[in-house]
């Protein structure tokens, strides 16, 4: 079987032509990152000018799908705009050609035709290698024209077990909604953990190593137990030694996933007394605590008592703070949401609500100077001079982390604001601050 991915209006005889948007000539409507074909079933996958329509995260999953469905020795042919040549030509060409080059870079503003992400050569090459492809041949075509193109030919190797497992894991994650493709930052945050677990998977596919499996379990348990469980489920088929041990690790991850362990850790993090500038340390402290819990479960020490406590903690959580992926970046993003709502409340002069939301944001991110700055303003407006002064000091402390001349300008602005606040001139302080400069 040969597959033509993202065929659009171009029908290729002898191929299964697929497209996610254009039903005009396609044999099947399906996404490039969700191919409804079995493993090792295609001899050729042709993907011409399609991955640039997918975005950064989806394109990684699409390459994994191409790898999964290709037979060992099967070939992937791929074309995508050569972004480096397109930008270089844009700088050199006249207005008419610039317009055409803009279309080549950004695509068309109609459903499925916009370009979400274009790939520099080195990134594309690395993505193909990470997906497991070998013999990567990358050529630059028509570099001086208005349609410069990267052309790639690569092959799925005969020996491919680890990459096949990883591709299947990706497919399962996408099927079960464990990767949020609509949120690129969140998807790429999950990708960091995925890469770490994938490297342990490579190791485990070569030889049985319980330490590696243990590490995979612990690392995923504190961040995203459901992702870890997916890895273990797919590894089970490859690991013949100690199947009962593998199942046990899987069961622990399943239990922690059902208990929303990442949300429990987030809840603990928010309870750590807030000290300015200690975000990384606070995150690591809670992460270490989570790892200690997982170690205890793995050792089988009082595991029922541990689970009982975790269940009790989970029951006390509100539904708006359920987090599926506990990471430093994920926690900061929650802080940004609280900040945004706090700023809205501040702008509408709902001061008590604004203080509550900014304090919540501060308990999630102790390194953000805008949070303490807004709290300082709010407290000044409320007439709470001492607390305001304390928050201004914290803001000054965080400003020290910036480079000059930004730092100097921030500190000057802070000083003038503090003197306004101490003189009771609140006119300029009764609005939220969104930018330090």
């Amino acid at each position: 079987m040969r597959i033509h991915v993202g065929c659009g209006p171009v029908y290729k005889k002898g191929y299964v032509n697929i497209d996610a948007f254009d039903p005009s000539v396609a044999d099947c409507i399906m996404s490039a990152y969700h191919l409804e074909f079995p493993d090792d079933s295609a001899s050729l996958v042709e993907c011409m000018h399609t991955i640039e329509h997918l975005g950064a995260a989806k394109s990684i999953y699409a390459l994994a799908e191409f790898f999964r469905v290709l037979k060992p020795g099967g070939v992937l042919l791929l074309e995508t705009p050569d972004i480096e040549a397109a930008f270089a030509n844009f700088l050199k060409k006249g207005e008419a050609q610039r317009k055409l080059l803009m279309n080549w870079i950004y695509g068309l503003d109609s459903p499925g035709m916009g370009h979400r992400y274009c790939f520099p050569r080195e990134l594309l090459s690395r993505m193909l290698k990470e997906a497991g492809f070998k013999d990567i041949l990358l050529k630059r075509l028509a570099t001086k024209t208005i349609q410069p193109t990267l052309w790639v030919k690569c092959r799925k190797p005969e020996s491919h077990i680890a990459h096949q497992v990883i591709s299947r894991v990706r497919r399962s994650l996408a099927d079960n909604g464990l990767v949020n493709f609509d949120d690129q930052v969140s998807a790429l945050d999950c990708e960091t953990l995925f890469q770490s677990l994938a490297s342990l998977t490579h190791h485990l596919c070569v030889k049985w190593d319980e330490l590696a499996l243990r590490q995979l379990t612990m690392e995923s348990a504190v961040q995203n137990p459901r992702m870890g469980l997916t890895f273990i489920e797919h590894l089970e088929t490859q690991i013949s030694e100690s199947p009962s041990r593998v199942k046990r690790y899987g069961r622990i991850l399943e239990t922690l996933g059902a208990l929303d362990f990442p949300a429990v850790l987030l809840h603990l993090l928010m309870q750590v007394p807030v000290q300015v500038g200690t975000q990384n340390q606070t995150y690591l402290t809670i992460r270490n605590m989570g790892i200690a819990t997982v170690k205890k479960l793995l050792a089988g020490i009082e595991d029922q008592a541990v689970l009982k406590e975790l269940r009790r903690t989970r029951e006390g959580l509100s539904d708006d703070k359920i987090l599926s992926h506990f990471s430093e970046e994920g926690v900061k993003r929650l802080a940004e949401q609280s900040f945004a709502h706090g700023a809205k409340a501040f702008a509408n002069h709902e001061l008590a609500e604004a203080v509550r939301l900014f304090e919540e944001a501060f308990s999630l991110n102790r390194d953000d100077l805008l949070i303490t700055w807004n709290l300082a303003r709010l407290k000044a407006v409320e007439g709470n001079e001492d607390t305001s002064k304390k928050y201004y000091e914290m803001t000054s402390l965080l400003a020290q982390r910036y480079r000059q001349p930004l730092r100097r300008r921030m500190l000057e602005r802070l000083r003038s604001e503090i003197s306004l606040a101490s003189n009771g001139q609140m006119d300029g302080l009764a609005t939220p601050i969104y930018q330090a400069l």
Partner: protein, 126 residues
């Protein structure tokens, strides 16, 4: 801000502004300066919610530096201190005096007949 906090902030500044190659040493130094963000009571409280006993919770949040790393750090600090101390003594007037004395006492190369070569000293052949 106490001296430890000041050092931590400076290390943060280095890690943010500096080259990535210094991140490792900076993190290593940081691990000896950071104090727990939690007091023991809070550690126990949070640990209990995570299913840990007070001891397990304390162990989990204790300093990330291992015993070996801690020893290495202390050795580095002591060596640097001794180096600075010895350098200061040698370069001071007292050091110059001590140096001159040592030089005079132990490394005097002035030839004294009959003492340097024992019985086959050149004077025996005069």
């Amino acid at each position: 801000m106490n001296w430890m906090e000041l050092c931590l902030y400076q290390l943060d500044v280095v890690s943010i502004r500096g080259s990535r190659r210094f991140l490792g040493p900076v993190e290593w130094l940081r691990s000896f300066l950071i104090r727990s963000v939690l007091d023991s009571e809070k550690v126990e409280l949070l640990g209990a919610q995570a299913g840990l006993t007070p001891n397990e919770a304390r162990d989990a949040v204790s300093t990330p530096a291992s015993k070996g790393e801690s020893l290495a750090f202390k050795l580095v600090v002591v060596s640097v201190f001794l180096f600075i101390l010895i350098s200061a003594i040698i370069s001071s007037p007292i050091g110059a005096y001590i140096g001159a004395y040592i030089n005079e006492e132990f490394f005097n190369t002035t030839y004294l007949p009959g003492t340097l070569y024992g019985s086959i000293s050149p004077k025996d052949f005069r």
